[in-house]
C-alpha cells in the first residue's frame, strides 16, 4: 500500500516538473534581465575589476559570501567534533 502511494507521488511530481520545464520557463537563450545588464555595463568603473563574476560575488553580493564562509566554518568544526575517538572508560 505504501509502495503504491510512493510511486503515485513520484509520477505525478515528475509529470508536473517535465511539463513545467517545457512550458513555464523562458525560451532557452533569451533571459529577461535588467539587473544583470546593469552589472555587466557598470562593473568596471564602480569596482575596478575585469572579472564580473568576482565583482558580483565579493562586492555587489558580499553578504551571501559572508553567510557561505560561516556555513563552511561550522561544517568543518562539526566534522572535527564528531570524529574524535572517545576517552577510555576507567576501571573501577
Amino acid at each position: 500500500m505504501r509502495q503504491f502511494f510512493a510511486w503515485l507521488f513520484l509520477i505525478v511530481l515528475m509529470v508536473f516538473l517535465v511539463i513545467g520545464g517545457f512550458e513555464m520557463v523562458h525560451p532557452f537563450g533569451e533571459p529577461p534581465s535588467t539587473m544583470d545588464q546593469y552589472m555587466i555595463d557598470n562593473a568596471q568603473e564602480e569596482t575596478g575589476s575585469n572579472n564580473v563574476v568576482g565583482a558580483v560575488v565579493f562586492d555587489y553580493r558580499g553578504f551571501d559570501t559572508l553567510g557561505e564562509a560561516t556555513v563552511l566554518f561550522a561544517a568543518v568544526t562539526g566534522v572535527l567534533l564528531v570524529l574524535r575517538a572517545g576517552e577510555k572508560k576507567e576501571e573501577t
Partner: protein, 118 residues
C-alpha cells in the same frame, strides 16, 4: 510548440536528473546510496541554475582579452558557486555521521538504525 519542445531540452535534462535523485531517496535503504542521492540532487539544481542564464552566442563575463559578442548573466554563476561549496560541506558532515552509525550499530541498513535508544 515544437520550437520550445526541442529548444528547451537543457532544462528537461536537469529535471530528469532530479527525478533519478528523488527515486533513490524514496526507494533505497543503504545509507551510502542515500548520500549519493543527496549529491545528485544538489548537482541537478546547480545545472538548472547555470542553464537559466545563457544568452545565444554569448561569451564568458570576463573583460580581459574578450572577443566580440553579448555576455552571459553573471549573477546566476555567483549563486551556483555558493551552492557548490555548501553542498561539499554538508556532504562531509553527513559522511562523518554515517561512519559513526556504522561503528555503533554494525550495519549500513537504514531500517536498523531507526530507533532512538542509547
Amino acid at each position: 510548440m515544437t520550437g520550445t519542445l526541442i529548444g528547451n531540452f537543457p532544462f528537461v535534462a536537469a529535471v530528469v536528473l532530479m527525478g533519478i535523485a528523488l527515486y533513490i531517496l524514496i526507494f533505497r535503504r543503504n545509507l551510502i546510496k542515500i548520500v549519493m542521492g543527496i549529491t545528485i540532487l544538489s548537482s541537478s539544481v546547480n545545472l538548472f541554475l547555470v542553464t537559466l542564464g545563457y544568452r545565444t552566442g554569448g561569451i564568458a563575463p570576463i573583460y580581459t582579452d574578450a572577443p566580440e559578442g553579448p555576455m552571459v548573466l553573471p549573477v546566476v554563476q555567483a549563486l551556483t558557486l555558493t551552492s557548490i561549496v555548501i553542498a561539499v560541506a554538508t556532504s562531509a558532515l553527513i559522511l562523518s555521521l554515517v561512519i559513526r552509525i556504522y561503528r555503533h550499530t554494525g550495519s549500513l541498513d537504514s531500517k536498523k538504525s531507526r530507533r532512538m535508544k542509547g
